[in-house]
């Protein structure tokens, strides 16, 4: 069954006509649930990810009676949020989630925090017991606004019918404005059952972020002046560029090309600049490349664009890029000087900032430090020559597959298909290897849980991406441990016949936990072995999909090709070497120039200190 096509959105009247009670044709009275549907439609919502329950039955009834908005039934509320996140991240739209009261809402909490940390615009609608029962420990009652306050950008409990439509409109405005994030609306059942007045979005004035500012022209001019004085410059870009929209990525490419400066990216920013371009140094940070981290350490002007100096990026804060003049452009004033003191802050949309930087760069005087820049590039090239991601794969046909080999071949063979490709990941070693080996040409194609590091993100994220892009190739690069955390979504994949390709990099360990135990805890592998795993092939088959298993090198390429060519959902269980570590690695508490390298590159690096051990 192909995905159900959406009817034309211009046909707004059908909703009201269909929902009018037959005995009251002349009155335009709508129920709260119908008002909600209409407000969602006005906000351009096409898909809701959700799971029904007692408190949201009126909303599901209104959903049933309209045909503008499609509902995707997930198998767990956490998965609904991750799917909506991936939908949002891959389309630039606001993702919408619908869950019931009590356990429905509490199950959504992890997803909401994930969206909060990674700045993903979401609106989560939760059912609530009727207002008359709030506070009486009613069945499936939870203090949802209380529980979700710290994990949302904003939340509401709608207590009056006249507040419903304005609340929905404002929620969307808040979710997408400024630094995007999740907004929750708690909907007591009497509000959705009873009548409520409708109000158009244009009739309300939303309180969007009051701190929002246009980038300051003088600050941009000062920043560009510093860039023109730079002899060892570096762009350090993040997820803010993706959030700003495709035009920000376009502008970034132009700015990087016209300056000739090197560029590195955070995990969340991958794809904003083409990974295959020679000016791109790869990702920086804990598992970033040797060249990116050393360039960060040694640069004289660091231009941070839409990135937030996360601890996974900075390593030891007092040794982070110690000699550079730091420029920080971010839409969120609270990110400025939060972790790293910067010399020039530009608050505002990063896409606008980059466009202004381009304009300023084109003005006289021109950049004159070409010789020093060339010298800088030759230092970077020397670091590059170390080839920090190199690994040795035994080429014997029956050789054990290295996880790096598996991920690199998935990337290369997916690229050979020439299809538009969206990649989600779970969390751990496979995620870092995917970040290292996948080179994205376009933004919005890389879906990963960066800030919160939520195991179980990838499978539901693949659902969301495939729903948004039915014709694209959608892959989940998974670990055997993470993927079991939301494995029930195989049911969603089966129901909607989503041709998602799930590649399980199966090393029988929670690999990153095992790696840290090896490096920091004397190889005492406490509870990190993946025991009693299911047979993933049979698991795929039991969920009406196709399962494949690879145990030796000779089968790897053919199996990946077969999986990619298959027109339905596939799980590929790739049994890989158990003891591989992900390198390079900046151990906790160490500086960028104290990276641990892999066995191929000489295994040098910092000793892990007691202080470092205390960090996460």
């Amino acid at each position: 069954m192909p995905p159900v096509p959406f009817p034309g959105r211009e046909d707004d009247m059908t909703l009201q006509a269909a929902s009018a009670p037959s005995d009251a044709r002349n009155t335009p009275a709508l129920s709260g649930a119908e008002v909600l549907m209409r407000a969602l439609a006005e906000q351009g919502v096409e898909v809701i990810f959700g799971y029904p329950g007692g408190a949201v039955l009126p909303i599901y009834d209104a959903l049933f009676k309209q045909n503008q908005i499609r509902h995707v039934l997930v198998r767990h509320e956490q998965a609904a949020v991750h799917a909506a996140e991936a939908y949002a991240r891959s389309t630039g739209k606001v993702g919408v989630v619908l869950v019931t009261s009590g356990p429905g809402a509490t199950n959504a909490v992890t997803g909401l925090l994930d969206a909060m940390m990674d700045s993903i615009p979401l609106v989560c609608l939760s059912g609530q017991v009727p207002t008359s029962l709030i506070g009486y420990d009613a069945f499936q009652e939870a203090d949802t606004t209380g529980i979700t306050r710290p994990v949302t950008k904003y939340n509401y409990l709608v207590r009056k019918p006249e507040d419903l439509a304005p609340t929905v409109h404002e929620a969307f405005a808040i979710a997408r404005s400024g630094r995007p994030g999740p907004v929750l609306i708690d909907l007591p059942k009497n509000i959705t059952v009873g009548d409520a007045p409708y109000m158009d979005a244009k009739e309300i004035a939303p309180r969007t972020e009051r701190t929002q500012a246009k980038p300051d022209k003088d600050a941009v001019a000062r920043a560009v002046k510093a860039m023109k004085n730079a002899k060892r410059p570096l762009f350090y870009t993040g997820g803010g560029i993706i959030n700003s929209g495709p035009q920000a990525s376009e502008a970034l490419r132009k700015l990087v090309k016209m300056t000739g400066f090197p560029i590195t990216s955070t995990l969340m920013g991958l794809g904003a600049y083409p990974g295959t371009d020679s000016q791109f140094l790869g990702m920086l940070g804990m598992h970033g490349t040797y060249e990116a981290n050393l360039a960060t350490h040694d640069c004289d002007v660091l231009i941070a664009l839409g990135s937030r100096f996360d601890d996974r990026v900075t390593g030891r804060v007092d040794a982070f890029s110690p000699t550079s003049f730091k420029i920080h452009a971010d839409i969120d004033p609270a990110q400025i000087n939060k972790i790293i003191h910067v010399d020039e802050a530009i608050i505002g949309d990063v896409g606008e900032t980059i466009a202004m930087m381009i304009e300023e760069w084109e003005k006289e005087p021109a950049y004159t430090h070409q010789a020093e820049l060339a010298e800088w590039w030759s230092r970077i090239d020397a670091w590059r020559a170390l080839d920090c991601l190199r690994f040795t794969q035994d080429q014997a046909p029956d050789a054990v597959i290295k996880p790096q080999q598996a991920i690199r071949r998935i990337y290369e063979l997916a690229r050979e298909t020439g299809r538009d490709t969206y990649v989600s990941t779970e969390v751990g070693q496979h995620q870092m290897w995917a970040a290292q080996f996948f080179q994205f040409d376009h933004p919005n194609r890389w879906l990963t849980s960066g800030g919160l590091g939520t195991m179980g993100y990838g499978l539901p994220a693949a659902v969301g991406a495939q729903i948004a892009h039915p014709d694209a190739l959608v892959m989940d690069i998974a670990g055997e441990a993470s993927t079991l955390m939301n494995i029930q979504e195989l049911g969603t994949i089966a129901q909607y016949r989503l041709p998602v390709k799930i590649f399980i990099i199966n090393n029988h360990y929670m690999g990153m936990v095992r790696q840290w135990q090896e490096l920091l805890h004397g190889s005492r592998y406490s509870e990190s072995y993946s025991d009693a795993l299911p047979d993933f092939v049979k698991l795929a088959e039991s969920f009406h999909g196709t399962g494949m298993r690879v145990t030796q090198l000779s089968q790897l390429d053919d199996t990946i090709r077969q999986a990619l060519a298959h027109n339905g959902p596939v799980i590929v269980d790739i049994c890989v070497a158990e003891g591989e570590n992900c390198f390079p690695m900046i151990p906790s508490g160490a500086a960028h120039n104290e990276m641990i390298l892999g066995p191929e590159q000489g295994e040098s690096g910092a000793k892990i200190t007691k202080e470092g051990q205390m960090l996460v």
Binding site: N155, L157, R159, R207, E209, R210, P333, A334, N337
Partner: protein, 172 residues
């Protein structure tokens, strides 16, 4: 980075008077590990739609700037001012202080109260309730003096603050 010295700051904010607004502010402080020394809140406009919150907190100057920036992100917050950083300001609180004693200590308590311009708002044969308004330091020292004289109970409002001169929280 050079060492910064931790100090006290008085932050005043205007928030939309809606359910959960105060919880949002308080949870922001506890969630991010900021300290609240004192907190006052009451509606301040004629329609009761806006409340003013005054928070006394401690931290290094950069921590205080971070607190301000984080508060400013809270949707119902329309204005945040660090009065300590913006120039001269007035910060006052009120205390109700109950002293239970007789004989010489009772007379001494009344004498000190007069010196502090505290008002006795409740008097019985064995007790006084004094009402005292002033700076935090003044209230602290009054309470310390009352301690050996039969201090039985203290109720304080926390700090209300406002900037000096014609400027307002809106115009700073």
């Amino acid at each position: 980075m050079q060492q910064e010295i931790s100090g006290s700051a008085v932050i005043s904010l205007l928030v939309d008077n809606e359910s959960g607004a105060l919880a949002r502010i308080v949870e922001l402080f506890s969630g991010r590990g900021y300290n609240i020394q004192s907190l006052t809140v009451a509606p301040v406009d004629e329609n009761q739609t806006t409340s003013r919150v005054n928070v006394v907190t401690t931290g290094t100057p950069s921590a205080i700037r971070q607190i301000r920036a984080q508060i400013a992100r809270v949707v119902p917050v329309s204005r945040v001012v660090d009065l300590t950083a913006e120039g001269p300001y007035v910060a006052r609180e009120m205390a109700l202080v109950k002293v239970v004693s007789s004989g010489e200590p009772r007379t001494e308590a009344l004498r000190i109260a007069q010196a502090f311009r505290a008002r006795a708002v409740d008097t019985t044969a064995s007790s006084f309730v004094f009402e005292l308004t002033g700076s935090t330091e003044k209230l602290d020292s009054f309470i310390e003096l009352m301690r050996p004289l039969g201090l039985a109970e203290v109720s304080r409002t926390g700090v209300a603050s406002i900037c000096r001169g014609p400027q307002t929280i809106q115009s700073i």
